[in-house]
Symmetry: C2
Subunit: 451 residues, 2 copies
């Protein structure tokens, strides 16, 4: 076991305040303790003496993009995530569940594109006793053949139930055509993929993809970092390390897509290019997208919802990933007013290149800084945020470091980015997905209708 870096020593007991907003005091975190085991496993612990709770996020590089199946079929990662909770380390499904509950720990296991994520949240005093349970799920799941059919049945139902959630359908379809394969896979799997899997396939996949290299464990909250690292070392130091699967990428489909269905609303999803987190301009980009469409005084909310009453729900969000970034815009409107909604969204997008006012900018920054402080008060939000940081950039950011990124930014940088990068070419590459009873006029786009 080798300790890479620890900011802990200098910070203990000091109360951290942000540079420009002294009154917004941060909770008493004592720095981030970062450790990498010899087998490649990364462990971060951020203790916080202001809370009694603690939370773990464990990212295992076995997400849907690692599924090696025929063509675009997948489901291994999805079904495995469902199976990990059904018994591990010699405990049956019921026994494992009861063991977590006796400790008062909420747990979860869910797939994403890159990872299977094991989560655990509860009192800090109890979390350490939950570690052997979480580790057994990752290292030694039961994968009992008698539990595969109920698990498969649930996964299939989850796909079917998507038909009752047109907003989710639009967002899934948007991801499917916006991203290169296999990064465009849903967290649901495919029907044929799920149906083809045997317990042996799951065991092989588990053996191939669940390992310490690329695994990131983050624990935030009322914990003692030394005890946590010691316990994890006992449990995981001898974990061996297969090479994670790499599935070759194929280019994104792009274009536009319409899902014909008799839904009451017409759901609109737009996808645009974003920036990856390690891009130095990603902070400016995130602020620009926030001013465009996050929160009640953003342009989309004000113009599309409040002033015109076109749709109950409208938002823009920005994901800044490891290898790519994506901007997603959603609006749900009536069929009659959907064309006006789309036109209005596109007008607002076209206005981004002209930049933002200093009023818009200062409101956005105040809002972002408030949210950073509030994130610091939630152990589970901190654990998830740190784990994402480590995956995307190799390093976890303290709340102070996140705040500093915004302190170093100014409106000019944002407006320069908008003028340079969020103009014609950005707009031309935009992806459109609609779901509902009619198609919209998107003259100039190559359009495909799917049912």
């Amino acid at each position: 076991m080798r300790t890479l870096s620890s900011q802990g020593e200098d910070w203990v007991g000091s109360s951290i305040t942000s540079r420009q907003d002294q009154e917004a005091s941060m909770p008493s975190t004592h720095g981030i303790h970062s450790t990498t085991f010899d087998n490649g496993l990364q462990v971060l612990v951020e203790p916080n003496s202001s809370v009694a709770s603690a939370s773990m996020t464990w990212l295992i590089p076995a997400g849907t993009s690692t599924d090696r199946m025929q063509g675009s079929e997948h489901g291994c990662s999805v079904l495995l995530s469902e199976m990990l909770l059904r018994g591990a380390g010699g405990l049956s499904s019921r026994q494992l569940s009861d063991a977590f509950d006796r400790l008062g720990l909420q747990r979860s296991c869910e797939p994403s594109v890159h990872h299977v994520r094991i989560g655990m949240t509860g009192l800090g005093t109890r979390l350490i006793d939950g570690l052997p349970l979480a580790v057994s799920m990752a290292r030694d799941p039961l994968l009992d053949p008698s539990t595969i059919e109920p698990a498969r049945s649930l996964c299939l139902q989850s796909i079917r139930s998507l038909a009752d959630e047109p907003q989710q359908q639009v967002l899934h379809e948007l991801a499917r055509i916006q991203r290169p394969s296999p990064l465009n896979r849903s967290g649901l799997g495919t029907i044929d993929g799920l149906n083809s899997l045997s317990i042996d396939d799951l065991r092989a996949s588990h053996q191939r993809n669940f390992g310490p290299r690329g695994s990131i464990i983050v624990i935030a909250g009322a914990v003692d970092p030394d005890r946590i690292v010691q316990r994890l070392s006992e449990l995981l130091d001898d974990w061996d390390c297969p090479d994670p699967d790499v599935v070759p990428e194929t280019p994104a489909l792009g274009g536009t897509s319409h899902l014909q269905q008799e839904s009451a609303q017409l759901h609109i999803g737009l996808g645009l290019r974003g920036l990856k987190q390690s891009d130095p301009r990603s902070v400016a980009h995130r602020v620009a997208i926030r001013m465009l469409g996050s929160g009640a005084s953003s342009r989309l909310f004000t113009e599309v919802r409040e002033r015109r009453g076109l749709c109950y729900s409208v938002w823009a969000s920005s994901s800044n990933g490891r290898d790519r970034g994506d901007v997603t815009i959603y609006a749900g409107s009536t069929p009659e007013r959907a064309q006006e909604t789309l036109d209005c969204l596109q007008d607002q997008l076209a206005g981004v290149r002209d930049g933002f006012s200093s009023d818009e900018y200062s409101r956005a920054i105040v809002g972002i800084k408030s949210r950073i402080v509030m994130q610091g008060e939630s152990s589970s939000a901190r654990a998830a945020s740190l784990a994402g940081d480590v995956f995307r950039t190799g390093k976890g950011r303290s709340l102070q470091e996140i705040t500093s990124e915004y302190d170093r930014l100014d409106l000019e940088q944002v407006n320069t980015l908008a003028a340079d990068d969020l103009g014609d070419q950005w707009l031309q590459e935009r992806i459109l997905v609609t779901a509902g009873s009619r198609e919209l006029d998107v003259t100039g786009d190559a359009q495909v209708t799917r049912s």
Copy 2:
């Protein structure tokens, strides 16, 4: 202004720990400061020096049950809630929104059966400056005629979009037939009700129902109680007090209801009698319903989801209101397995009277206590919880008091309640709502099909 009670003095600076679980330390709250103004307005402040955030929940007794419209039509409370954010205290919609954002405060305004709820969350240092804005929304909304059409349009869309969310539809229909009118009204309004409202109707309704008597303001988090009460007194001491509207009750419809629709899943909702919060048995009742259907080792989750794989989502929840309590059970299944799901739900319900094991009980109590601690770490959860307490029982409970209620409980009390009150009669009165492509066999129930 008259101070009724303050637990503050004795508690300042003391760290509160729960009686039976010393390691689960509570945050440094300094007691609840409770004040009632001469005009009837109740104010509670729970300062918490462990956090930097603060949150306000303001309940105004102008909920959907106060709408005085023809028959079952309603919408005044819903449309007013949408309008309060569109300008107040001389500020236009845009100016009001910008003013909140400059303070980094998230705000909301939403109707429930009994109240219009104004919420505000952000940094504790900023919350006090947001109070004049929140007060202007309640006392002096613009109600500008030019904003009514976009607001009405959004409310109507919200009703229409329900057709795309069958799970929500089932829960709305369940409430509609389970509760006496007008307590069975949705938070959406009705189409005819919304369409009939003029700006003068809204003004009259605002004048009639928005007042200090029955209003409850709770602020939790990083705030100074004296400053908060002083500021609220300046802003609200001279608020006058109309008598809140009382709409006469008519009995609940009861029975069963099927919503025929081409959804992919079959959605099942069951409603059963619960207990109001002031009932001394309500704590035992809540624990029983938790063991039945909340969390991953509850009976419903284990039996219906994990073991049989019948449905992805299944849960039971218990609402303990001021005048009545309700138990709600939901499951979403495939049409083919829906009958088996319903039968399985009813089997589990029938088993409740036989009581629970000590293992089930201790797991439930540990889980509940963990959640109490975590609730204490969220300013917005605390504010909402305290406001609900005051409405339902006249008094806000500290985290310590909530924990004590469970310390005083034992399994025998729960099992006695189950044997006495959760048997044949309880089951016979159960309400059933289904939504989907087929009806289920509910022999013995008086059934009505609605489309």
